[in-house]
């Protein structure tokens, strides 16, 4: 039994955790629920030895322990499975497991492999110890991470957003394994912000908000709306409206789009689809299935293979071929293409600049003057700040110091101020709190009603199904036929996400 007492952690003026007291029992799955930035990961990082608490104590079976490093954590039987796997691609599963374990000078690899197999069988993980990590699928890598901490004798397993990278089917499998672990007397902490998962698998829920523990309750006493309100701290409504499509106009025609990455692998393979003004086109898929490349190819940021074709139907002029044009040329042609990329601070915004200078990115080149004119950008920045309720000390504060949600609001606000004809978003609500997410859905709907062709790349299938007018599924660079979200189920999309498209097409 682990007991946290008044744990606190501060980053400068930011309160990451304050006076959190929590008991983690063996044989129990505890879900740590909270919005992004509420301090879930920080709290668990203190248990895992990655951070040292500014204040507070940790007890193991009543005795105080001090965790200064991941090694200490491991010695107390604490193992953490991070959101981004910490595996060496070139090594085998077994080699990854024993990495960093100092057990004598000689190494009996066969014995280790045998032991790993046994651990796997015991808890229901099917794993080949000789398989190299780069040959593994995402869910195999995750199983390996879990086996790694089990092999090291962990009694407390902390999983940080484990389902973010999994399909619905893989998620089910993971939860089955977690229940088995629970039955064997392990303590499990699940960090997540997906409420349906919490309700499905956990025994007990701890809700964090703004670094503080709001409530600890048994899962059987909880429901979705109540948890959402605990997370947000005010009343929320969880309905996404879908307005009716009125006279759609063809805006983008994509034919046989193929993209090779730097290693020569086809990340997009003969992708064809159309996007219509006045519609929201949802694109589903496991992250890294070619979504990034698809949007970047349309924006002129990605080199494409021969035979690829992207045609843009301008409202006033004729059709324009976008293939082979740089963003600069596309802009010069008067094409209003707005793009909210996945990596906001790496592409889309300049972190060290304030809101005004970031808005200026889209408008500074409008006049031929040598000197820049910030007046219009200032006005737009002010409007964004007010309309989207961006919380920032001033419009000149560097955006990298703002929280993820506010950064996203700045980016989305600027792209809408750009008066787009085509509006592309990649993971528009990633890292956003519930209320802001709904603000963004609302904005997308308004754009759609105004006749904009919206392309929405998303990860939450519930949202995709509720918001889109058509859904495409990307899997390993291949794209499915357009699906009707009113008729298709989550499970069907899940199947398509895991490479069943070819069979589907052959039918």
């Amino acid at each position: 039994m682990f007991e946290l007492k008044n744990l606190s952690k501060y980053f400068g003026e930011v309160v990451a955790n304050e006076d959190i007291s929590l008991t983690i029992n063996e044989g129990e799955i505890l879900a740590l629920l909270g919005e992004n930035g509420s301090g879930k990961t920080t709290l668990m990082n203190m248990l895992a030895g990655l951070y040292y608490p500014d204040r507070g104590q940790i007890f193991l079976n009543g005795e105080e322990i001090v965790i200064k490093s991941p090694k200490d954590a491991s010695s107390y039987g604490i193992g953490m499975i991070h959101q981004h796997f910490k595996l060496v691609d070139l090594l085998t599963a077994a080699e990854n497991v024993i990495l960093g374990l100092n057990k004598g000078f000689f190494l009996d690899m066969e014995k280790v492999e045998q032991e790993i197999k046994e651990v796997g069988e015991m808890y229901g993980f099917d794993i080949d110890p000789k398989k190299k990590v780069y040959n593994m699928t995402v869910s195999e890598k995750q199983s390996l991470e879990i086996i790694k901490v089990l092999y090291r004798g962990a009694n407390l397993l902390i999983l940080d957003e484990p389902t973010a990278v999994l399909t619905p089917q893989e998620t089910k499998q993971l939860f089955k394994a977690l229940r088995k672990l629970k039955e064997r007397g392990k303590a499990i902490v699940l960090i997540t912000h997906k409420m349906n998962e919490v309700l499905g698998v956990s025994d007990s829920i701890a809700v964090l908000r703004k670094g503080k523990l709001v409530k600890r309750l048994a899962t059987k006493d909880a429901n979705e709306l109540m948890l959402a309100e605990l997370m947000v701290g005010e009343k929320v409504s969880l309905n996404i409206k879908r307005s009716k499509v009125k006279d759609p106009v063809l805006r983008l025609e994509i034919r046989d789009l193929s993209v090779k990455n730097q290693y020569g692998k086809m990340v997009l393979d003969n992708v064809s689809f159309d996007a219509y003004g006045g519609e929201i086109l949802g694109i589903a898929g496991i992250s890294g299935s070619g979504q990034k490349e698809l949007l970047e190819a349309i924006a002129g940021l990605q080199g494409t293979q021969k035979g690829s074709d992207i045609t843009y139907y301008h409202p006033k002029h004729n059709e324009i071929k976008l293939i082979g044009k740089s963003p600069f040329q596309i802009k010069r042609l008067g094409i209003s293409l707005s793009f909210v990329p996945e990596d906001r601070l790496g592409m889309g915004l300049v972190g060290s600049m304030g809101m005004v200078d970031n808005v200026l990115l889209r408008t500074y080149d409008e006049t031929p003057n040598f000197y820049k004119n910030r007046k219009r950008a200032k006005k737009i920045a002010k409007a964004i700040k007010e309309e989207l309720a961006v919380s920032t000390p001033s419009e000149e504060t560097a955006v990298q110091t703002l929280s993820g949600g506010n950064v996203q609001k700045v980016l989305v606000g600027r792209e809408i101020a750009n008066n787009p004809i085509v509006f592309m978003t990649a993971y528009a609500v990633r890292g956003l709190d519930i209320n802001t997410s709904y603000v963004i859905y609302d904005i997308l709907n308004k754009q759609k009603e105004a006749g904009v062709a919206v392309i929405y790349v998303g990860e939450d299938l519930d949202v995709l199904l509720a918001l889109s007018d058509k859904i495409l599924v990307l899997s390993n660079g291949k794209i499915s036929k357009p699906l009707d979200p009113k008729k298709v189920t989550k499970e069907e999309i899940g199947l398509l996400m895991t490479n069943k498209i070819e069979e589907e097409l052959e039918k």
Binding site: M347, R362, Y371
Partner: protein, 444 residues
């Protein structure tokens, strides 16, 4: 007998004195290090023993906590930063004096007066201080746009050299034709200097823009080409065969065109007078002001900042990154070439491989320590110039080894850096007991 004569030869009294002095110097340095290490050791031991006592305390079992931790500091007010900066610099300066005192035995008053004599002793000293400060500052200004763009130009030294070389060549070959039209000659020298600088900048810029070549190595290597090129011309144009010395160009004595092309002794001397560097300071000032406006108020300055912030974002925003890269490096290297021209036409009136005198490298320190703020950059240029001029005087007056002076300047820079650390971070020493009391109070 033989032995004693050998001993005699090697251990004569003067030699003794020299060896003793060297030994004394080594001993002092070793002693300082030893005291530091000993102090640290004692401190660690003290803490360890405290911890041991805690461990014996049954209640405190198993609680070995880390000694200290570092957290981010809240944004400080301007005067708080000033106090930290000045305070830590003074600590560094005290150490500087202490070490000089230990090595040479000179009193603090003596050291201070020597430092000031070296910089303010005569009008020549004062002008030299101003001139060198502004030349260094000028190169620092040249580095602002490239560093803002995250293009690591460490080739300023070479760009200064070729700027100086071009200026010298123009003075040498065009003076006869243009000695009556000095303004025109000045314009040609100016253009020659900046074009030469740009020539040294264009290659790394092109390669970076087109092929993504690492600019650090490229610009560094260009320095060596520049040095060898200047060496070659020094020998080609040498006054006395075998000396490698080109002498003073358009010398006051023995030259047909005394002081032609010199700034400002002849050129514009009616306005600025001669024997001073007002024009030089003014020119650097104008360049700095222009750079300030360029970076702050122009679209091009804005583009530079975007490219420096994130190349991906720049591409995304339809900025032509290649064009911006090349243009910016050309501007920077042009200013370096211009400084080279100022050094040859305004200060040295001669050519040597040392004419840049390391300014191209020192300026990197100036720009970064000044954090791109021209006011701070000027202060740091002045400080560095002050101490290096002071070092020369210390060497002659109280015979402090010149290399030792460089080490000591390094210590001062180190202390300036330390102050930045304390401005950004806070060091907290963990005190378990007190925390517990606080906790108890909080829960009550």
């Amino acid at each position: 007998m033989i032995l004693s004569s050998v001993v005699d030869q090697y251990f004569r009294l003067e030699r003794y004195a020299k060896i003793l002095k060297v030994l004394a110097q080594i001993f002092i340095v070793v002693a300082i290090i030893a005291v530091c290490v000993l102090g640290a050791y004692l401190l660690v031991n003290l803490i360890r023993s405290r911890q041991k006592r805690k461990q014996e305390d049954p209640e405190e079992k198993n609680t070995k906590i880390p000694l200290f931790r570092i957290t981010k500091q809240k944004e400080l007010k301007f005067w708080q930063k000033l106090i930290i900066r000045v305070g830590i610099f003074l600590v560094g300066f005290a150490l500087y004096m202490m070490i000089i005192n230990l090595i040479t035995g000179a009193s603090n008053a003596q050291i201070l007066s020597t430092l000031f004599k070296g910089n303010f002793g005569s009008s020549i000293n004062i002008w030299a201080l101003l001139r060198n400060t502004f030349l260094l500052f000028g190169v620092g200004v040249a580095l602002i746009p490239v560093f803002k763009m995250r293009f690591w130009n460490i080739g300023a030294e070479g760009q200064i050299l070729v700027g100086g070389l071009a200026t010298f060549a123009i003075m040498k070959y065009l003076t006869p034709a243009f000695h009556n039209m000095q303004f025109l000659l000045f314009i040609i020298m100016f253009l020659g200097g900046i074009l030469a600088g740009m020539l040294w900048g264009i290659f790394p810029a092109l390669f970076k823009a087109k092929f993504g070549t690492n600019e650090t190595l490229f610009t560094l290597m260009m320095n060596y080409i520049a040095i060898q090129l200047v060496r070659y011309f020094c020998i080609k144009w040498e006054k006395v065969p075998g000396s490698g010395d080109v002498g003073i160009i358009n010398n006051v004595f023995g030259s047909e065109y005394p002081k032609v092309g010199w700034i400002p002794n002849n050129f514009l001397s009616s306005i600025f007078g001669s024997g001073n560097y007002v024009l030089l300071l003014l020119l650097v000032g104008v360049v700095a002001l222009a750079m300030y406006v360029y970076m702050k108020y122009t679209k091009q300055g804005y583009e530079i900042k975007v490219v420096g912030g994130s190349v991906n974002t720049a591409n995304y925003a339809a900025i032509d990154v290649e064009k911006v890269t090349i243009r910016t490096v050309l501007i920077s290297s042009a200013i370096c070439g211009f400084v080279g021209m100022l050094i040859v036409a305004g200060v040295d009136h001669s050519l040597s491989p040392n004419l840049a005198a390391g300014r191209g490298f020192t300026a990197i320190t100036v720009t970064w320590l000044g954090n791109f703020n021209m006011g701070f950059m000027l202060i740091i240029s002045a400080l560095l110039t002050f101490f290096s001029a002071g070092a020369k005087r210390l060497a002659s007056d109280i015979s402090l080894n010149a290399s030792m002076s460089d080490v000591l300047i390094g210590i001062l820079i180190f202390f300036i850096l330390i102050s930045e650390f304390f401005i950004r971070y806070k060091v907290i020493i963990n005190r378990k007991k007190k925390d517990k009391e606080e906790l108890a109070n909080a829960s009550n």
